[in-house]
């Protein structure tokens, strides 16, 4: 589905279904240097089970025009603008990593717009190592290698994908390699610079689901505790032996948690 925000074309995957204003909507927001395709299985499920699905490509990512937005707050504002453009008053918001911060911030600022939020691989704050930021700033391939190395659990580094025939780390690497220069750094800097997550969490009025990978080395599980404490109506699902690439590493567990929650 093509739309636009501030004159810039926006792409959102809909599971090959036409948007139906009568149905509730679920918005999926990807993480740094990713695009809508990381949600392929989960978003397709909801698109074929009575929901409108918008798995967006953030500005400058995937098929969306523009440059990457410089902060979590800016991404949150863009998300609300997209909902306005599409005349969607309320929606369930699902975000991964950077996307989880954008969902959190948008909901904290506009508590009436989200019916439910699901935050995957969340961390507040979400610090990024200097080594990774520096490599990303240089557009050094080493940055992708660091992310891949920390984003999959040790076991999943060697494969065993539930999706037949796809090499998880290779696929993740190729997706990141499609980033335009500077994009990864912009995304990581947005994560690193976001300081108002706990305040946003305190403003959230709707039910929240946190999905955490037990072996996540990108956003350590312990860094989600303060966030969980700040949310008034929350549920926490920890997926055993799973890293940060939750939708890929544990597609069924993620879908089951989302199904039950949404």
């Amino acid at each position: 589905m093509q739309s636009s925000v501030s004159g810039r074309a926006v792409y959102a995957y809909t599971g090959a279904r036409a948007f139906d204003p009568a149905l509730p909507t679920v918005v999926f927001v990807h993480g740094a240097a990713n695009d809508h395709s990381v949600w392929a299985l989960q978003s397709r499920y909801f698109a074929h089970h009575g929901r409108n699905v918008l798995a967006v490509d953030l500005p400058g990512h995937g098929r969306s025009e523009g440059t990457p937005l410089p902060s979590v707050e800016a991404i949150a504002g863009w998300l609300m603008a997209l909902l306005d453009t599409l005349a969607i008053e309320t929606a369930a918001l699902v975000g991964h990593s950077l996307g989880s911060l954008a969902v959190l911030d948008a909901t904290g600022r506009h508590p009436g717009r989200a019916t439910r939020i699901a935050l995957l691989g969340p961390s507040v704050p979400m610090p990024v190592s200097d080594a990774l930021l520096d490599a990303a700033k240089r557009d050094d391939h080493a940055a992708f290698e660091m992310i891949n190395g920390w984003s999959f659990s040790p076991a999943d580094q060697l494969g065993g994908n539930r999706l037949p025939g796809v090499w998880m780390t290779g696929n993740a690497m190729r997706l990141m390699e499609r980033c335009r220069p500077g994009l990864l750094h912009a995304d990581l800097a947005a994560c690193n610079g976001y300081a108002t997550g706990l305040a946003a969490a305190e403003n959230v009025r709707c039910p929240a689901l946190l999905i955490i990978g037990e072996r996540d080395q990108m956003t350590l599980p312990k860094n989600a505790r303060a966030l969980a404490a700040a949310l008034s109506d929350k549920r926490v699902v920890t997926i055993p032996d799973c890293g940060h690439s939750l939708m890929t590493e544990a597609p069924d567990a993620v879908l089951d948690a989302l199904r039950e929650f949404l």
Binding site: A16, R63, G149, G159, P164, G165, V166, N171, L175, L255
Partner: protein, 435 residues
Amino acid sequence: MAKPKTTHFDTLALHAGARPDPATGARATPIYQSASFVFRDSDHAAALFNMERAGHVYSRISNPTCAVLEERISALEGGVGAIAVASGQAALHLAIVTLMGAGSHIVASRSLYGGSHNLLDFTLPRFGIETTFVNPRNLDDWRRAIRPSTRLLFGETLGNPGLEVLDVPRVAALAHEHGLPLLVDSTFTTPSLMRPFEHGADLVYHSATKFLSGHGVVIGGLLVDSGRFDWNDPGKSAGKFPTLTEPYVGFHGMVFAEESTTAAFLLRARREGIRDFGACMAPMTAFQILQGIETLPLRMQRHVENTRRIVAFLAAHPFVESVGYPELPTHPDRELAGRLLPHGCGAVFSFAIRGTRDQGRRFIERLSIFSHLANVGDAKSLVIHPASTTHFRVATEDLKAAGITEGTIRLSVGLEHADDLIEDLSRALRAAEKG
């Protein structure tokens, strides 16, 4: 936090895609010899059919043992994924029919395996797909052959049987300049000697029957996607690959390039090609190829060591007219081979004896360790006479263009002790020389 280490090739050859069986603890990859897999409930069934959940439905589409092999070859090649199929020929066919239909055109090296040549030259034209064959060493030939209807460039890492080294970086750059992917048959080199994706190729396939399985006991093919090619690049590839960029009525209107940014080709190949043409791999075959790949790095090293010794022996033998191995100073691709194949140019090569066709036959018949048969890439050494077997249907002029004469003999050097192989060759050459 220290930079994470990447896993080495040798380790991936043993472990990629596999983990101890969660049900039994079996360390070896189990052979899931089951046609179908039980659904949890009706919703689970529907979700699997509609690609909303990951998993296996029916072994023509995917199978757990085959999936381990698919991940393993993807890891070794540096791709995003793969499909295991019934043979190398099935892999080539699947690649082509996934990308194009009637009215399309392929530009291919003229130095191809005879079976590939048959498919392109004789069979596919019946379905409206034409191929122009070019001298793989001449980039201008490749360029001149590209038409508006061209959808694929195709060659072998090492041509068959002349061992022309495909200049993958330059042919890939030419393909990309025209918004086209480059498909490479990497059977002779395996990822142990060359990883074509690192040089710009977009798709790679193997006859896994050869060095990957390594023991001459199975027939199988593997088609690997680099995930790099942009199937909808404005001004380049856009509009050329509707199978990937337009809704497919045969799968709920799915637009494969939207469904997966990186693996659209594989999705279509699995959801249409394997589903409809059905040339799937059997789980037992996948298991045997996995067993072979476990020792691929060790075997390829020994294959190359033995080959180098035999090439040196033959090159110095007075009854041998010529030896075609890219590491020799006389081979036109020596410099290119040094860049693309620093660890060796494989273990299949041809040579010609100074003698009649009868003497050539006597040579082959007097060999005792080398087996006379139509295959390569076995642990055991093999020999064949291409003009009367693998390239039997190729016209004499085309044979000549591919560097094959009546006296050409092709060897596939195995893992025996090199001294024994040289003794076998020496004895047979003496017998042939005596007339």
